[in-house]
Amino acid sequence: MSAQVTTGLQVRKSVELTIDGKKITAPEGSTLLDACRASGIEIPTLCFGDTITPKNACRVCMVELEGSRTLVPSCSRKVEAGMVVKTDTDRTSHSRKLVLELLGSSVDLSLTKNVSKWNSNYDANPSRFGAPSTHHGKRDEAVTGHHHHPDGKTAETVHQPVKIDNALYVRDYSKCILCYQCVDACGEQWQNTFAITTAGRGFDARISTEFAVDLTDSACVYCGNCIQVCPTGALMFTSEFEMREAGTWREEEQTQTDTICPYCGVGCSLTLHVQDNTIVKVTSPSDHSVTHGNLCIKGRFGFQHVQNTKPE
């Protein structure tokens, strides 16, 4: 039972567990999701990203664990010896379907990957809660414990105007699933800037700067590491946002080129996204062992000088 698995320089014990009737071994400290993926089992994830410790907030990845009253989030639950796990039961399907419906009926998931595929896999129909509400409160001013009593004719949404308050990126919280990844990237997991966090409670919960001030008045240092981890397109380069608005964003035509940031000796890896010979946004490889997808303002946004054209 104490076979050893060697991963790089680390030697980790492995544990034996049963997933969907099959005995498998997985390294100690890995998650049920890791174990499932390693044995070819596909599980949908929404709030899970590859560089942030998951907050397991979306609950789409739930699996059944023998002995547990509730389902457990596979993205965060660590493997333990002797676990008996089922990934495809009526209960897991029900939870995935309902989570997709609850999010789909309240949030704009149009830029969230795989949603239409999962909707059809799990027979999710977000519109069964009614037409989206057209009554849009000012979410930044929501008072905890106060809400309009619903009449049930429409389904409330988080729809709100896009926040455009600086030249570098926009925040479209109508698309936000509250995965907390931007908060953790800005805060204690990467940047330690703490410009944004969750404000409000329940359905009013939202990502906000302190007192909802504009980014330009906040602690934001424009590293853009929040954009890097955002899985929904809620946080977006202004360049991308404007091209999408103008209908000129054509992702399928874009090329991606890896290079090294020229600004300082850290030498971060950059991935330049190029359309029509113009850099349209910059990301960084999240599997890089040093930077994990993180950059600073210069590497992230300082690309205009290589493509300056004369003002007309």
Binding site: R59, L71, V99, R128, G202
Partner: protein, 463 residues
């Protein structure tokens, strides 16, 4: 800010006063500001109609001792259990609590001895004890009577719990809206410290322990044990993921015992007598004494102490029976997170096992008696609104599910088509299942319980 508000200025040089006024009107507030004093609060014992009665176990000192006087407390058997605990040793204290069969009174009914033993066996030696005095479950007011009327008992019980689990510091996480409890507890902690019932080398035992009172800011979710950790640490009141469990990784990342006020106060009779003696009270599956919060359409609402095993009918009779002119429509057991039972369930034994068998829960001891004047549909909508407002918003099943549940109820209330009713009932069941199965914490997991019980047991929408 909406609407016009009037403000009264407090100027420099004015002595700040604190007054308690509830419910308050604008005129009354204006009078307070202009120098009038608020009317005296109701006597504490009024909330416990059985008192004063020294033969009660948990409420024995309510109404006949001065809650501000340590001498009064000591004259009424105070700190006897603590001395005995020091003489029998920590292991034996845990053994007695385990033998007593005591389970948590905060709602989840977890065996207290097992929790203490788990903390006591941790390799990490810095450990915390938290008394959960947040008491926010709608209809719950039992802890308040103990906190206000017998605060030294809580100090003594916490010191015993800390001694048994090897904890150096305790917090009382106190509901923010309990000013009198704050005053009486603050006094009890300070006086106990001055008399060496807290602090260094307590009563020459070599044991050090102290207590900090931490006030909540009015969120129901902050009564959830891991949300309390976040709240005390200065973070948003959001529950944490379990595992790791609090007994291993709790407050400030250290092993932590969280116990309800009533749970802790039960430890005193257990140590004063014995676990075995305590276990003679009650039924096979529910041991000891229990406080119930009886409210609604009864003649004498209040906190009642009974031995586990009394029936719902007996409890209502104890509270003076139904008010004259009232006929029973339903009883909400266990609070908003609990469930409704109907008039046909009056002979239900109020034990954990009988409640479970009947598909309901005793929760924190809420017995809210509703008569014919109550509109059940309004009640359900109120409960749905409560969960929507109190959800922390962290996980999708609860954050959005509680809103969809409220919307579906609103449709059901105004529905006049059997087909639409059937669709929405189905929707509600779907929502209930995902909230129960996939929510992070007990709030979301129980947010459909009361509504479910009203649908299945009271058949509110199948008329």
């Amino acid at each position: 800010m909406s609407g016009r508000r009037q403000f009264w200025l407090i100027e420099t040089g004015v002595t700040v006063r604190q007054e308690v006024l509830a419910p308050a009107t604008k005129t009354q507030i204006a009078e307070l500001v202009s120098g009038k004093s608020a009317p005296a609060e109701q006597p504490i014992a009024q909330a416990a109609p059985q008192t004063p009665d020294k033969s009660l176990v948990l409420l024995s000192r309510i109404g006949n001792t001065n809650p501000l006087s340590i001498d009064d407390y000591i004259a009424n058997n105070g700190f006897a259990a603590l001395r005995k605990a020091f003489s029998i040793g920590a292991d034996q204290v845990i053994a007695e609590v385990t033998a007593s069969g005591l389970v948590g009174r905060g709602g989840a009914a977890f065996p207290t001895g097992r929790k203490w033993a788990a903390v006591a066996s941790q390799p990490v030696k810095t450990r915390y004890l938290i008394c959960n005095a947040d008491e926010s479950e709608p209809g719950t007011f039992k802890d308040r009577v103990l906190l206000e009327g017998d605060p030294f008992a809580l100090v003594e019980a916490m010191t015993i719990a800390a001694f048994a689990t090897g904890s150096q510091h305790g917090y009382i996480y106190l509901r923010g809206e309990y000013p009198r409890a704050l005053k009486n507890l603050t006094n009890a902690v300070e006086v106990s410290r001055n008399k060496n019932y807290l602090g260094e080398n307590i009563l020459n035992s070599g044991f050090n322990f102290d207590i900090t009172i931490f006030r909540g800011a009015g969120a129901y979710i902050c009564g959830e044990e891991t949300a309390i950790f976040n709240s005390i640490e200065g973070y948003r009141g959001e529950p944490r993921n379990k595992p790791p469990f609090p007994v291993e990784v709790g407050l400030f990342g250290k092993p932590t015992t969280v116990n309800n006020v009533e749970t802790l106060v039960n430890v005193l009779p257990i140590i004063n007598n014995s676990g075995e003696q305590y276990a003679t009270w009650g039924s096979t599956g529910s041991k000891g004494k229990k406080l119930f919060c009886v409210s609604g359409a009864v003649s004498k609402p209040g906190v009642y102490e009974v031995t586990f095993g009394a029936t719902l009918r007996q409890l209502i009779d104890l509270a003076g029976g139904l008010k004259s002119g009232s006929t029973l429509q339903a009883v909400l057991l266990g609070g908003a997170a609990g469930g409704f039972v109907g008039p046909q369930d009056l002979d239900l034994e109020l034990t954990l096992e009988a409640a479970r068998a009947a598909g309901t829960t005793l929760g924190s001891g809420v017995v809210m008696v509703l008569d014919q004047s109550v509109n059940m549909l309004d009640q359900l909508q109120r409960i749905a609104a409560f969960f929507r407002d109190e959800s922390c918003g962290q996980c999708v099943p609860c954050r959005v599910g509680t809103v969809r549940q409220q919307e579906a109820l609103a449709r059901l209330v105004s529905s006049n088509s059997a087909d639409e009713t059937a669709i929405d009932l189905h929707l509600l069941r779907d929502l209930g299942q995902v909230m129960r199965d996939a929510s992070i914490c007990g709030l979301g997991q129980t947010a459909h319980n009361a509504i479910d019980s009203a649908l299945t047991r009271l058949k509110v929408f199948s008329a």
